[in-house]
């Protein structure tokens, strides 16, 4: 409520809001609309708003040698496993980091955050050669490991931030009641950070599901993921925009739903714990 309640504001605010909503939503709405449009209407010089909806593009993705189902499974395995492993290890590590009083904790924390912030292009290079030597190129294992390079430090860091925000008194009370150290973590701290845990997992999932650079560089025919499927619809002969927008919907919708499901904790997650709560 920074503004006053003048007459100008009562017109200006709804108008600006509408504009901002359109700015954010039109590209996505247009993508969704195009994915159920007949091809002729997509390619029209003047945008078509009234058309006969069709599912042919979605059908085309799973038939006629396109096999998007295979890409979908690859994406689910690579992003799913990587995010689960990262969250599990990150929860343990995050608790340890949050409660640790060791000397050099600052250096440890700094190393973890630098790993997370490392430019993807710079991480790609050595991993490419290492994977080539180890035979991990074009394998889902390779992709899972590659995604761990950014998911694991992220999960440790964020879980540490979530554990930091717990009141210490509860754990103290549990300890006085004779709870073991593992018990303090497992029965007191962990249940209190359930939301943080889910947020961490979902953000890890989103980051690896949306990855293009690693998948494009490392994967061959047997490990391609959905974002690669999207770019493969761009061929020399032209782009099938109907199918492409359909892939777009398949890539985008689950992540938007997952992301919005943890909206309350997003700020903490996306600022790496530097800003809390709305």
């Amino acid at each position: 409520m920074i503004t006053g309640r003048g007459r100008g504001a009562s017109i200006l605010i709804p108008l600006l809001t509408l504009f901002v909503v359109l700015f954010a939503a039109v590209p996505l709405a247009w993508m969704a609309l195009s994915s159920i449009k007949p091809t002729n209407d997509i390619m029209s010089h003047i945008p078509v708003f009234v058309f006969k909806p069709t599912l042919e593009h979605y059908r085309g993705l799973f038939t006629g040698g396109n096999h998007v189902d295979r890409y979908l499974v690859n994406s689910l395995i690579a992003a799913g496993l990587s995010s689960v492993i990262a969250t599990a290890l990150g929860t343990l590590g995050g608790f340890g980091l949050s409660r640790s009083t060791m000397r050099g904790k600052r250096h440890l924390a700094f190393w973890i955050i630098s790993t997370r912030m490392a430019p993807i292009a710079a991480v790609l290079l050595p991993l490419f050669l290492i994977f080539r030597t180890l035979g991990l190129l074009d394998s889902l294992t390779g992709l899972i490991v590659a995604y761990l390079t950014f998911n694991l430090p992220f999960a440790i860091w964020i879980m540490a931030a979530f554990f930091d925000s717990l009141p210490g008194s509860l754990e103290e009370a549990a300890r006085l009641d004779g709870c073991s150290e593992w018990g303090v973590f497992w029965r007191v701290a962990l249940p209190l950070t359930k939301a943080g845990l889910v947020t961490t997992w979902i953000l890890c999932l989103v980051f690896s599901w949306n990855d293009y650079a690693f998948a494009q560089t490392f994967s061959g025919t047997s490990s391609q993921t959905l974002p690669i499927a999207a770019t493969q619809l761009i061929t020399q002969t032209g782009i099938d925009w109907g199918q492409l927008t359909a892939v777009g919907v398949i890539v985008v919708v689950p992540m938007v739903v997952a992301g919005l499901a943890v909206r309350r904790w997003l700020v903490t997650g996306l600022t790496l714990g530097a800003v809390t709560g709305e």
């Binding site: 996505l28 409660r99 009083t101 492409l244 985008v252 992301g259």
Partner: protein
């Protein structure tokens, strides 16, 4: 009676420490690493393998000539890659484009994100739904953002091209250097402004309304209230937003990769794209490694600022 009460409130009592454990237990386990350290190990060991090995390897690559045929071979070339990098106008021009891209995207995102946050903050009814809609672009895979950009700006059937034609602006948007750069900036702005909005919104809800009211009663106008009351309260979170975007600006390159792949005429070839081209099109992996390390140096500086900022914040909180 009174004396015991007085004793228990003695100021000599140590401040409560959440990490305090009975001394006996701590002593008994001295031969073992502490519980916290043992908790960290399952995460720290894989992380060390995943980060230190590639880090050592990229340093080694940067002083070598890398050949891939018949197995990976590294032949030492000393500082040749580094010397080349400092004298390569293509690399300098990519850093320059990266800087322009960074300043343009982050500048617009900060202003727009703050503006939208203030706008959203005005809404009391339906604010949740509104925020949810505005956040959506953030979760879209950058590669899809890029493809959507191409789709919307296609000169024959793009929705946005059509709108531009309506106002008398007919051109192949991604085909002209200046326009191409503006378009990839716009795409980045579309995807990441919601993050700034979200962060600013968190900062705004922490501004005590009484403070604004007081300023208002003192006769401060809208801009004065914003400048002297709101902005100082949210400046902390704005710095966080700036640092997060700074690191991401050099981390991701998918959007440009998909839309223009650095073209036309290298107008959008930011440094990660240059690295990628040198590594995987010209297969000069040693040279690319030197560039990669210089990028890493940049992100380590940002990370350092970030950690310092966090520590300062915790210091204030305690």
């Amino acid at each position: 009676m009174t004396s015991t009460v007085w004793q228990s409130q003695s100021p000599q009592v140590e401040p409560p420490n959440r990490n305090a454990r009975p001394l006996a237990r701590r002593r008994k386990r001295r031969w073992l690493p502490s519980f916290e350290t043992r908790m960290m190990l399952p995460a720290i060991i894989p992380l060390a393998l995943l980060s230190l090995i590639p880090f050592g390897y990229i340093i080694w690559m940067s002083v070598s000539k890398v050949t891939l045929l018949g197995g990976v071979h590294l032949t030492g070339v000393g500082g040749a890659n580094w010397a080349k990098m400092f004298h390569d106008p293509a690399v300098w021009s990519s850093w320059r484009i990266s800087a322009i891209y960074f300043i343009a995207t982050v500048g617009i995102e900060m202003l727009l994100g703050m503006g939208i946050a203030i706008l959203v903050h005005e809404h009391v009814v339906g604010r949740n739904l509104l925020v949810s809609i505005l956040l959506m672009p953030m979760f879209v895979a950058p590669v899809i953002v890029g493809l959507l950009g191409r789709f919307l700006t296609d000169s024959s059937f793009g929705l946005y091209s059509w709108m531009l034609r309506l106002i008398g602006f007919d051109t192949n948007i991604l085909g002209r250097p200046g326009m191409a750069l503006a378009t990839v900036v716009a795409l980045d702005v579309w995807e990441w402004t919601p993050l700034i909005m979200l962060i600013t919104l968190a900062g705004l809800s922490a501004v005590p309304p009484a403070l604004i009211e007081a300023a208002s009663l003192d006769g401060a106008g809208y801009f004065k209230r914003f400048w002297y009351v709101v902005l100082p309260s949210i400046s902390g979170v704005l710095v966080v937003a700036l640092l997060i975007r700074a690191m991401d600006a050099i981390r991701f390159f998918d959007i440009i990769w998909i839309t223009t792949n650095g073209g036309p005429a290298d107008a959008t070839k930011i440094i990660p794209l240059r690295l990628y081209e040198i590594a995987f099109r010209f297969f000069d992996l040693g040279y690319a490694a030197a560039i990669g390390l210089s990028m890493l140096a940049f992100s380590i500086i940002v990370a350092n600022l970030f950690v310092t900022l966090l520590e300062k914040k915790r210091g204030v909180a305690q």
